[in-house]
Symmetry: C2
Subunit: 303 residues, 2 copies
């Protein structure tokens, strides 16, 4: 390793080496749990992992990236990795080795072994969050990752997954987050009763996203807009600008009766056409964006 972070030694070239197999095993949950590690694959995920890693080191905290494996071609194509990977345990590897390590067919030339990044519910709540997404029994890794990415885009302060949800460190879930897993705090294995009680104690409203909800998200948005524009007569069943935790349910069954009962209100995303419903990722995006817009009070910079 030279000081720019570009590894100088010969590339790893044996796809059947123990070291390669050890990395590949992180596609499975038992190896992840045993070692407290997971895979970030592809330039976007690895870049965001390394950025978080460098931020943490700069703050005197432990890093998150344990190892990086990259092809020479990838490093030529994305020269920023020379700086980003400086000081990390980085190795060159052949495409065959990267393919053997990766869960994807095409890892795009770079893989990082990362340490778990999840935090405790207390840590999230102590920071005074204004917008939280809570995933209850979400089973599909792509859906969980998509909601996490949308929560990041909406500027949410955290994502909480209940204990019965999919493992967010599943490679497909990590890919679906498109790097957002390294952007905002994630709480895993949460107990929904504890989440609800803790939010209530701290004055965070609990909204259940529910197609059969009695409140209409568009009405809440209109009422918020009217308040922002100081139009009179704008009472509201729920003020979207308040600190809010949104509960999102299982993709097939939605929220259970027990989960619904924990919420302050059940809010429906209106359906203007003939569709029965929106899918989980799109419904969550609409809800989180509605809160974000209402909380910001004005439009942010576009990006």
């Amino acid at each position: 390793m030279n000081e720019t972070g570009r590894p100088q030694d010969f590339p790893l070239s044996n796809p059947r080496a123990d070291r390669v197999r050890d990395v590949a095993k992180l596609a499975g949950r038992p190896a992840r749990l045993k070692r407290g590690q997971f895979l970030a694959e592809g330039p976007q995920s690895v870049r965001e992992a390394l950025r978080l890693h460098q931020q943490r080191l700069a703050a005197g905290a432990p890093g998150v990236v344990h190892e990086v494996f990259a092809s020479e071609a990838c490093l030529d194509r994305f020269p920023e990795f020379d700086d980003l990977a400086a000081g990390t345990n980085a190795r060159l590897a052949t495409d065959d080795v990267l393919a053997a390590m990766a869960d994807t067919v095409n890892p795009q030339g770079i893989i990082a072994v990362c340490g778990f990044v999840d935090v405790s519910l207390e840590e999230v709540l102590d920071a005074g969050p204004r917008l939280i997404a809570v995933l209850c029994q979400v089973r599909d890794p792509g859906n969980a990752g998509t909601v996490l990415r949308a929560a990041d885009a909406a500027g949410a302060d955290a994502v909480v997954l209940t204990g019965s949800s999919v493992d967010i460190y599943n490679p497909k879930a990590v890919r679906s987050t498109a790097g957002s897993l390294f952007h905002l705090p994630v709480v895993l294995g949460a107990d929904i009763d504890e989440v609800a009680a803790a939010c209530r104690t701290r004055g965070i409203g609990l909204l259940a996203a529910d197609g059969y909800g009695d409140l209409n998200l568009d009405v809440l948005q209109d009422e918020n807009a009217a308040r922002r524009m100081a139009v009179s007569g704008t009472g509201s069943a729920y003020a979207l600008e308040n600190p809010t935790a949104w509960l999102f349910g299982n993709e097939a069954q939605g929220l259970s009766e027990v989960e619904l009962a924990l919420a302050d209100h059940r809010v429906a995303v209106p359906v203007y056409g003939a569709a029965e419903s929106l899918n989980l990722g799109t419904a969550a995006t609409v809800c989180l964006y509605a809160s974000a817009r209402s909380q910001q009070g004005r439009a942010p910079a576009s990006g």
Copy 2:
């Protein structure tokens, strides 16, 4: 077949029969193009296909469902199929046969062979549409289906796919629409220049969804809300309540420069957090819902 639609004969039981293989071949594009047919799998898709079929027959138009294959258990579980399938070419089949026919591992007991449902661009435009989603070079079947479902939920009048986009009759795309493929007109193989010219002729605004757009979707929504609430001083670069065609680009590259140049405006979904962007399905949902809300002027019934 009795008059309630429940087939009375013995179930098809040989998964290697020619008839079963013929249905299974519809998972591939060559067979679909040759026969003008595609597969709808699972109760939700088949239900919506049959509803459209019966609506068309009632209107004196040709139906869309050519054959239905279902297990006895599925018909017991969803008794509405007895009425919906009345008068169609329906056959009982064993689970083995259904599994052999299906593209999914688990077809949930019912499969329909449907005729193509796409329509011409002229037919769509002659109906005076107010909201259209145009997919340009979208490659992933799940993304295309998700956008179609979101367009349906937002009450869009049509979805247009350009010639270089994924085949919407791909089984994964059909599944992702969750039945919405049978709810609103879909145009396939469109030429983007022709779409743009035709929209312009008819006074339909063209908005390009683009992370680097100069207009901010939230600003446009706020300006629309202000007009609806009759707040003064609310000029706007683009009035979201106008008839609009949204252009959505390829999931990896976004819209090409050529496609962007065809639009009246480039509009960014704002990113409040650290995410680089939203994924295609969620970005399209936010854009289409913003138009739908602005065009309706008030909130619809929730559903």
